[in-house]
Symmetry: C2
Subunit: 206 residues, 2 copies
C-alpha cells in the first residue's frame, strides 16, 4: 500500500445510496488493509448528547471556536440547523491521511470540490449515479417518508447535480451496492498506484 492515505470524497443525489455503498467500501478496505478505513467526522456547536464523545460522533466546538475555524479556512463546508453550526473540518482529515488512512467523506458537490481545492494531491472525487432517473424516483418513493411534491423536488435537484458530474474525476453507477463498492475499491487501489504516491517504493528499489 502507498505510503500516504487518500481522501475519497463521494457526492451524489439524495437517494442514490451513498451511505450504504460507502459502508460496504469501508468493509472492503478493512478486509484488505486492516485499520486503514476512516470517516470524516463533522464538527458541530450543538451540545454532546449522553454517550457521545468528542472526536467520535462529532468534534464538539463552541460557537466562537467554530467561527474562528471558518475564519481560518479550516472548515471545508458548513451549514446551520436549529441555531447550531455543522461542518467538515480539514485538520482531522489531513491528520488521518498522513497516517496512511483512506478517509471517506459523504459530502455535497460544493464540499467535494472545496475539499479537492484544499488537498489537491490527496482527494479523489467520485459522483455516485443512479441506474436511471426512473429508478432514483422509485427509490425516493420507496422510502415512504416524502410526498410526491418533495420527491419531484428531489428529482429536479438530482438532475441539476448530475449535470455537474464532469466536475468530478470519476462517476460510479450504483446499479447494485456490491458492484458500486467494487468500482470504488478499484478507483482507490488504482489511485494508490499513481507514481506520485509511490515515491518511497521507487526509492526503496535500491
Amino acid at each position: 500500500m502507498a505510503e500516504k492515505g487518500l481522501i475519497v470524497s463521494v457526492s451524489g443525489p439524495s437517494g442514490v445510496g451513498k451511505g450504504t455503498v460507502l459502508k460496504r467500501v469501508a468493509e472492503m478496505i478493512e478486509e484488505k488493509w486492516p485499520g486503514k478505513a476512516a470517516y470524516s467526522i463533522s464538527a458541530t456547536t450543538r451540545s454532546p448528547r449522553p454517550g457521545e464523545t468528542d472526536g467520535v460522533e462529532y468534534h464538539f466546538r463552541t460557537k466562537e471556536e467554530f467561527e474562528e475555524m471558518i475564519e481560518a479556512g479550516e472548515i471545508i463546508e458548513y451549514d446551520q440547523y436549529v441555531g447550531n453550526y455543522y461542518g467538515t473540518p480539514a485538520a482531522p482529515i489531513a491528520a488521518k491521511v498522513s497516517e496512511g488512512k483512506v478517509v471517506f467523506c459523504d459530502i455535497t458537490i460544493e464540499g467535494s470540490l472545496a475539499l479537492d481545492r484544499k488537498f489537491p494531491d490527496d482527494v479523489v472525487t467520485i459522483m455516485l449515479l443512479p441506474p436511471s432517473y426512473q429508478e432514483l424516483e422509485a427509490r425516493l418513493k420507496g422510502r415512504g417518508t416524502e410526498d410526491d411534491a418533495k420527491v419531484a423536488a428531489r428529482l429536479a435537484k438530482a438532475r441539476e447535480e448530475i449535470a455537474r458530474a464532469g466536475e468530478f474525476e470519476y462517476a460510479v453507477q450504483n446499479n447494485e451496492v456490491e458492484q458500486a463498492a467494487q468500482d470504488i475499491m478499484k478507483i482507490i487501489e488504482s489511485e494508490m498506484l499513481r507514481t506520485f504516491r509511490q515515491k518511497e517504493t521507487i526509492k526503496n528499489l535500491e
Copy 2:
C-alpha cells in the same frame, strides 16, 4: 464498459517482464470484455517474410511511405535497424480506440510520453518496476544470453529509466506476474470510470 477505448502504454527497464505481464492483462481483458484487447502493431520498411500479413505482424510500408508518415507526425517513435525503419504508427491505434478497444503498447519511455502528447485523453502511461535492482540483475543474468558487462550496462540504464518514473501516471511493481497484471487491470477499469469517458452513460440516465 465506457464508450471509448483506452491506450495502455507500458514502459520499463529491459528484463522487467513487460511482455509477459501485458500478455496476461490482455487475457484478463478478453475474459471480461471479449474482443476488446488489441495490440499496437509496428510499421516497418522491411519486406514481409513468408506467412506474414500486412496489418497483422507489421504494417508493411515502403521507405517513401514511412518517411512521409514521419514527416506528417504520424509515427510516434521509430528506429532504424539493418537499413530498415521500425516504428509505431498513430492512426491504427486511434482507429482501435474509437472502436472501444483497449490497445496495449510496449514502448520506450520517450515513445510513451510522445503517445501521451498525441492522444492526451486516451493514453494511460504505466511504468513497470522490478521488485528491486537485485532481482532485476538476477532476472537479466538468468536469461543467460548476456555477459556481465552487458548486464551491468542494462542495470545502469534501468536506473536512469526508473529515475523518470515520475513522468508516468502510474507505477506497477512486477513482484509476480499475476499481481502486476491485476494491478494494471485495476488501473484500466478505474480509468474507464472517469467522468469524461462516461458522457454517454450520464446522458442515458434519462
